[in-house]
Amino acid sequence: MIAENSPAIERFKANKASAISLVYLLVLTTMALLAPSITSGDPNQLDLGQVLEGFSGEHIFGTDHLGRDIATRILYGTRLSLLSGVGAVCFGLAIALPIGLFSGFVGGVTDTIVQRFVDALFAFPAFLMALALVAVLGAGLTNVIVAVGASTVPPMIRLVRSGVLSVKSEDYIENARSVGCSSSRIIIRHILPNTLGPIIVQATVYIGATIIAAAGLGFLGLGVQPPAAEWGAMLGEGRDYIFTAPHVLTVPGLFIFVTVLAFNYVGDGLRDALDPKTTKQ
């Protein structure tokens, strides 16, 4: 979609904040993937002789209350945070996409019922929903992905459905019907490719939100369980040292903040780049 449309790439690059954010996310992801070879190794390596150390050449982000290297834990935590953020959005999309496509396509009473149901789910704040689900499912990475992912389903259904509605009345859909395409072919070959742009944009922004939600659960001790390195859990474990060794909190806090911001900027950049109003026809 982007490949055929180089003006869109140009516009994305012209957007400084988005371009920098994208580079940041790519570097972060690469480093997280390479974590075993670029760090000293074990994120859970205790060293009780060096607890709550400040920044140094050996420990660039210092050590925590158990003497673990914070930089190593941040990188391993990146894996968990990105995995839970991206995983949750994928899980949410996997549920919302078929429902939104179907509801918007068939319309009528079915659509009305689905939308009322979505409205009802909207009454719960997303984080409360995730919290309630984790309370039921239990902690752990998979359950965090499911719980946070499920909380993105209502807004994503709305998003997908509104995309379908804006495309459904296009002439080329009627043309496809007149040619003899089945409904499923029309949805998959004609409606989906033409609604994917805004869905990808929004999904990117949601990754930021799901990272926060997953970190929030980790902070409360309901997410990925210690001793696993996870940004939210690192914040939670460090809260006793906020005055004595603030870097134990501020480092993971900053990474959460900057990463979420980066996803938002990339989403914004994508939106501007793909906006049909600015896309040369």
Binding site: E4, D171, Y172, H190, Q281
Partner: protein, 339 residues
């Protein structure tokens, strides 16, 4: 569009096959609900098409003319069964397809195709020319080895170079896009194609080329077509039969020569007199200018629907709707005081 010469179809020997109607529409009616409610019956309706009857002869072109809002597109979409008629019959090859279900429509979609008014909107922007032309073949299960030769053949028919096959619609001009849309409609060799104002969204300079293309395709393939237009000079040049619609009703219908040679309905006369070149030929009557606008189809005038703009209207026109009555030359008119 006056530079297109009228084909002298009258000199050809008309065969039985050509006289046979491939498609016949009887009492076609389509009402749209305009106060859609979730439950219960709607109470307000637009009578977009009301009791329309005509036949399309084999190899022939039937033109539907009328102002915007007269129901032309709705007639076309109903025949292509993109809409279900409220009532009436659509006889195709002797079968009534007016109410058949989605499954049986498969067969109909193979035989009746439609080309839409705006080629900038009727082609999926995310599909290449190859994909656009291949899709009808895939959907109707043509053997795979025939796809490539058929696409080459289609591109040649509509006059596009084969090297364009991997491009997307936005890389083409309006005229080229309409050629692609025409090729897509032709792909599975339908018997009937409905052209809904196929050139009115195009530059005047390319309109004539597309019309010539359609004329040539029809001569080569023996296709029957319904040509929807509001451009009477084009209609006169390419149609065998004409139906004049006004607010969803047939005002006048008949063979093209008859209808243009001696129009009998005041509305048809007004339409013809608005075309400068045609008007010169019949310079004995002054140019007729219609007063007022098209009334709302949600609330059409009583009696004759044209009466609010008709200079011949009498009292009876407000109380009694004129019947569509024909003569021996198959020239039909719905007017209490026809010429």
């Amino acid at each position: 569009m006056n530079h297109i010469s009228s084909q002298e179809k009258g000199f050809r020997v008309v065969t039985d096959e050509e006289m046979r109607e491939v498609l016949r529409v009887e009492g076609l009616t389509k009402h749209f609900a305009i106060d859609k409610r979730l439950f219960g019956q709607p109470r307000k309706w637009v009578q977009a098409v009301d009791n329309v009857t005509f036949g399309v002869r084999g190899r022939g072109t039937l033109a539907i003319v009328g102002e915007s809002g007269s129901g032309k597109t709705t007639v076309g979409r109903t025949i292509a069964r993109l809409l279900k008629p409220s009532s009436g019959r659509i006889l195709f090859d002797g079968n009534d397809i007016a109410q058949i279900d989605e499954r049986s429509l498969r067969g109909v979609r193979k035989e009746i195709q439609m080309v839409f008014q705006n080629p900038n909107a009727s082609l999926n922007p995310r599909m290449t020319v190859r994909q656009l032309l291949c899709e009808p073949l895939i959907v109707h299960q043509w053997p795979k080895e025939e796809h490539r030769p058929r696409i080459e053949e289609l591109l040649e028919t509509v006059g596009l170079p084969h090297s364009y096959v991997d491009r997307y619609p936005h890389e083409f001009s309006g005229g080229q896009r309409q050629r692609i849309a025409i090729a897509r409609a032709l792909a599975i060799r339908p018997k009937v194609i409905i052209f809904d104002e196929p050139v009115s969204a195009l530059d005047v300079s390319v309109q004539a080329q597309i019309i010539q293309l359609l004329d040539r395709i029809q001569a080569d393939t023996g296709l029957a077509s319904i040509f929807i237009s509001h451009d009477l000079s084009v209609v006169r040049a390419i149609s065998d039969d004409v139906v004049v619609l006004y607010l969803g009703k047939v005002m006048e219908a008949g063979p093209s020569r008859e209808l243009f040679g001696s129009p009998r309905h005041p509305y048809t006369q007004a339409l013809i007199s608005a075309v400068p070149k045609m008007h010169k030929r019949k310079s004995q009557d002054a140019r007729i200018v219609l007063k007022g606008d098209l009334p709302s189809p949600a609330n059409p005038p009583s009696g004759c629907r044209f009466r609010t703009r008709c200079w011949k209207a009498q009292d009876i026109c407000a109380t009694k709707a004129p019947e569509l009555e024909g003569d021996a030359k198959r020239h039909f008119v719905a007017c209490h005081f026809p010429n």
